[in-house]
Point group: C2
Chain length 327, copies 2
Amino acid sequence: MSLRLPTIDDIREAHERLRPHLVATPLLEHPALNERAGGRVLLKCENLQRVGAFKFRGAYNKISQVDRAAFPGGVVACSSGNHAQGVAAAATLLGIKSAIVMPADAPAMKVARTKAFGGEVIAYDRVKEDREAIAARLCGERRAAMVHPFDDWQVMAGQGTVGLEIVSQAAAVGVAPDAVLVACSGGGLAGGIATAVKASLPTTEILTVEPEGFDDMARSLRSGRRERNARLSGSICDALLAETPGETTFAVGQQVLAGGLVVSDDEVRDAIRFAFADLKLVVEPGGAVALAAVLARRYPTKGRTTVAVISGGNIDGGMLSAILGAA
Amino acid sequence: MSLRLPTIDDIREAHERLRPHLVATPLLEHPALNERAGGRVLLKCENLQRVGAFKFRGAYNKISQVDRAAFPGGVVACSSGNHAQGVAAAATLLGIKSAIVMPADAPAMKVARTKAFGGEVIAYDRVKEDREAIAARLCGERRAAMVHPFDDWQVMAGQGTVGLEIVSQAAAVGVAPDAVLVACSGGGLAGGIATAVKASLPTTEILTVEPEGFDDMARSLRSGRRERNARLSGSICDALLAETPGETTFAVGQQVLAGGLVVSDDEVRDAIRFAFADLKLVVEPGGAVALAAVLARRYPTKGRTTVAVISGGNIDGGMLSAILGAA
């Protein structure tokens, strides 16, 4: 069976569906960042999105199309925390139930916020238990639909709406970006954005950014097959620990992604500090990797125009304080 | 001698001058805030502005018009920290020297940033010394021009450009605000914004927001004469401790301001926490008072459309951590 991949029309339809519920997140250009980069850098601030991350987009697009008669028990999802909040908030907006399988070591604020958005949280052990199996069992018991965090064309189409906005917001300030840098866990956001951006700007390069040791997408794009990470935990980027690219996301990625960049946890901490002190933005570790790639010169921004997606801002006060050296 | 007050044309000219150097700060609408307010709330995010506060606008507009032959020594200013950064950054951009008289108890990051933007910092004792006298002496010695933090029609015209943007950004999303809430220290931002907004939207109410004990503008608007605060320090809102409205700002305020609201330091702390956790914005105490007025229901936002100006984001990591309960 051939895989269903998200098309530009899917993404445009998703945007129509989503528009009334989205925060119009800015494409922000700041002189302090341009100076550091030696070029123009535009930040797509999805940390300012509803639920504090882009994940609301894919979740809402998917859940709004779930057949309620076939799935009377609502939706089930696995998530380290941002997809969890996206699913919970989207399900609540749409008037249906959500149950989220979250790792026991997920940041406390992400668990609390998922509950606050109306989700039922079920904890599991990231190393010893299989979250997919737990979720599959719940779906069967409850007659609920699974909302995969990335490997789903409807979820990807939702995330791709970020790319449509990047294209139109960049055009509004007279810019065609040379490159777009996107945080990557399973690859849904990167593949969705790349599909949307390349439909209008075919020469713009889209690159993923991953934490060191969790660069499965970068290695997969190089080798041509889905590579796995050796570790399941151990980076501060809790949102970017997917073990391997999805089937669908990898198929899309092979078509539209130019390659993958890698940043260290210390470079991520630097980016969080810069965002706090100079940009006045709250950014979580996984949300800061594209900014980190710019600041650490992992990509040649000099004399070019680069978009970096800030994908999330759900960081505990304690972790931010520790990173700022103030705890 | 009659006072020169800023006109709408002054503000439009200032905007032309400033535009190439400004961050295009968003007018952000977030569902988490609308839910709390029971109405629509649009946040003008001047914490994201160059130097982390609106103050760059007034400083640049003023300094770009200083007669360099008459004032070969550059510019001098008094400031608790944000005007300091605005003057330093604007002077450096324009290629002239700046000396800033700052209170010895100003937040360390504001002093450090003022120096980083190229300003010379001269410390004084907020209670024992007269900063105006120190600045006047410096101006004489150096043949430098004074850049007052608020009581100057050119500075006010610069700050008023925030109001032009509020009007056009609100119109772009089909909104005419019922009210605009603006932080107030000396009254330059509030008067400038009110002049700009009322030129297009004469029925929109513009209200100042001040910290408890430092509500000189609110009391002055009620009594019809310039009232003084009993204290010179003692609020966490370090940016909003001006002793009394300026002559020019009060004259403008009497014409265009609808009145003044007051918030407590604890309400400001709540607003900073809300901005961090739900909006993902870094906001300093003085920058948070308008948001605090919304959250604490000091203004009837229910069923109405309210703009709240977030005027600055220059908060120390240590203070933010303490407010988040994470230090």
